[in-house]
Subunit: 429 residues, 2 copies
Amino acid sequence: MKTIKLGLIGLGTVGGGVVRILQEHHDDFVRDQDIDLRLVAVASRDSSEAHVLGIADIFSTDGNDIINNPEIDIVIELVGGTGAARSFVYAALEAGKSVVTANKALIAAEGHDICTLAASKGCEVAFEASVGGGIPIIGPLRHTLAGNRITSVIGILNGTTNYMLTRIDEDRLSYDAALAEAQAAGFAEFDPTADVEGADAAAKIAILGTIAYNTDIHISQVPVEGITAISPVDLDYAREMGYSIKLLGIANRTPGGIDIRVHPTMLALDHPLSSVRGVMNAIYVVGDAVGETMYYGAGAGSGPAASSVVGDLIEVARHLAYRESIAQPVWDTEALPIRSIDELITSYYLRLSVPDRPGVLATTAQVFAQHDVSIYSMVQRGVHEGCAELIYVTHAARESAIRATLAGIEKTGLLTSAPVLIRVEDAKA
Amino acid sequence: MKTIKLGLIGLGTVGGGVVRILQEHHDDFVRDQDIDLRLVAVASRDSSEAHVLGIADIFSTDGNDIINNPEIDIVIELVGGTGAARSFVYAALEAGKSVVTANKALIAAEGHDICTLAASKGCEVAFEASVGGGIPIIGPLRHTLAGNRITSVIGILNGTTNYMLTRIDEDRLSYDAALAEAQAAGFAEFDPTADVEGADAAAKIAILGTIAYNTDIHISQVPVEGITAISPVDLDYAREMGYSIKLLGIANRTPGGIDIRVHPTMLALDHPLSSVRGVMNAIYVVGDAVGETMYYGAGAGSGPAASSVVGDLIEVARHLAYRESIAQPVWDTEALPIRSIDELITSYYLRLSVPDRPGVLATTAQVFAQHDVSIYSMVQRGVHEGCAELIYVTHAARESAIRATLAGIEKTGLLTSAPVLIRVEDAKA
């Protein structure tokens, strides 16, 4: 049996979970994997958690103590973000140490450079925990599904927003009440911007798209819309028409390049992703041989994220211990173009708030016609005195035509509040 | 780049799918995996498919030509069953060749011996395709979830029966009509015994239990009940009470040993498995760190099964090519007892057909009381003249007590047809 020595930087929620698994399951890993996984050093800003976990004797407040420790084989980076964490990851690889990380922001921004550096140093970089928490998804994409040409990856990748949409849908909470509840329950941060505006999901779909299509996708290439404009009436209208509304990260292979985006999406109620409720995450993957598959589980939290970190640790450790040769990280063996969202063709739901008076419907309908956008259904409802809502659902149309239509409608001066646009994901469109 | 030479025995639906993937994606595997996967010999009883696939030049009707070919590194066994296929697998391993197979019957019966032989020969055996068709499940259990103590594996593992139950539920087809439809659609065999009586699911849960708990589970240790007694009224009663009925393979870790069984099960409608419809399969896995996860996809068919076979091929080939060391198959590092189903404690649904006359309800109710089985709910319905149905749902009770209760009720001579018993899977029970 071989011993592999681990150094951990970052002792927050996930770091604590990793320490507990390594303590509780050490002997299982010896028995099942023939590996003695030994945590020899831990660094974090605050030492209080180290005392609780009984690891004060190997604790330091300086992450560089981990990097500079020559006996450490694998560095576990759980600081997060692209500041200090970035330096630790590069320094560890430069020092010839393999890295296991949950850092979605860093991998979505610099995955190519990090994997290239790792390969040049004969090291591994593993980041299953960066997407979907405890859900095995990078592993299946890289290994079990490796015989497929993947054509579509669609994910509910942010638990906070899925929780909010579930609460708005099932209990008619307002957006603000749903957010307050998510914060009270500890799902949402005090500053929920990265969740509700979609940046968190964008980093994750950039990583999944990269792995699925072997092409480098930078987070800045992902068009993003969050859920801040969604209100209970949109969920009501959606359900009437047979749809759920989910904040989806979407990455499709198309002849013109990779179609990648994050936005609230109307999804047929019988789609497997539509029944994913609350804080759960799920990723739907279509391959040319396997057809439809889906992976479901907790997208965040101490245990789930730690589960993925330790799964990676065991893999990397086995490679190191038995010189099973390093698993060279495939990052961008194909160099596919990213398609502009202007070229997207799908159906659209538009909710327009307008004055309730003659001619308004005709005027707006005419703008759709001017831009050759064909209407699938239209409903007008009085909302309160003098005000109405027009709910348009279009046939498949080009994103650029919808944008031009919306601009045209805004120019009429009729809108009494900002329009709500939701893309409809519909295989039949 | 290294070349790995493959020999395929069995050119049925799955074999044809594997050949097509190897032809279409050969260059992808060279680019992404740095492996030249070369199919050098194919054997099957019938040569017609070989002509269609353009591989007549490497075709033979004798599987031993594959075993005896010294240049072959990996044998793909897709004959199935425990006859000729068994000999090919043992002979391949004896000859020092690694084996990739989709053979659930063989692995569920002799997995321990096969893995032991492989290890002694320094070979690999991989069988992702034996369970869940294209769904990545053995890979995630062995790798991404390796940091967990798995506590529960519950699967919809047979597409034919799930299709039939879906049709009975949604369109009130009779059992016979649903079976005829499944046969017409090509999902069910002409002889559907292995599907409808549960043997197919039993082989698969035996394999999943073995992998999840690192303990050898032989298919003969799995108590099995099929769906032949289920009728539309059971699905109606279930839905009224908030349940679906699914044929589940269940393997739980309990203090007394592994609780493993296959039977029709009532499952809360909001359980992730309840929304799995038609021929799709899904496996629900709970781990101590990761919590609930689920894996969903097509459980059978040429493409899905071939996807898993080729995923395994790429893994084994990379290990062979780059001496990433052989992945030693973990089969039974823990030796856990299998718990008797008599010790199962759960809720039960019982439907009793009885004469519609005074005293019958009291007589049956008394039998429950005699055996200390507490009733959660009871409904009596007139069915047709002189006949009634008693629908009992019990509180949590011991399987042995329910069996004794049923025997006691049968002894009253009141039953006008065989009773229907369905276990209720309910975390609250």
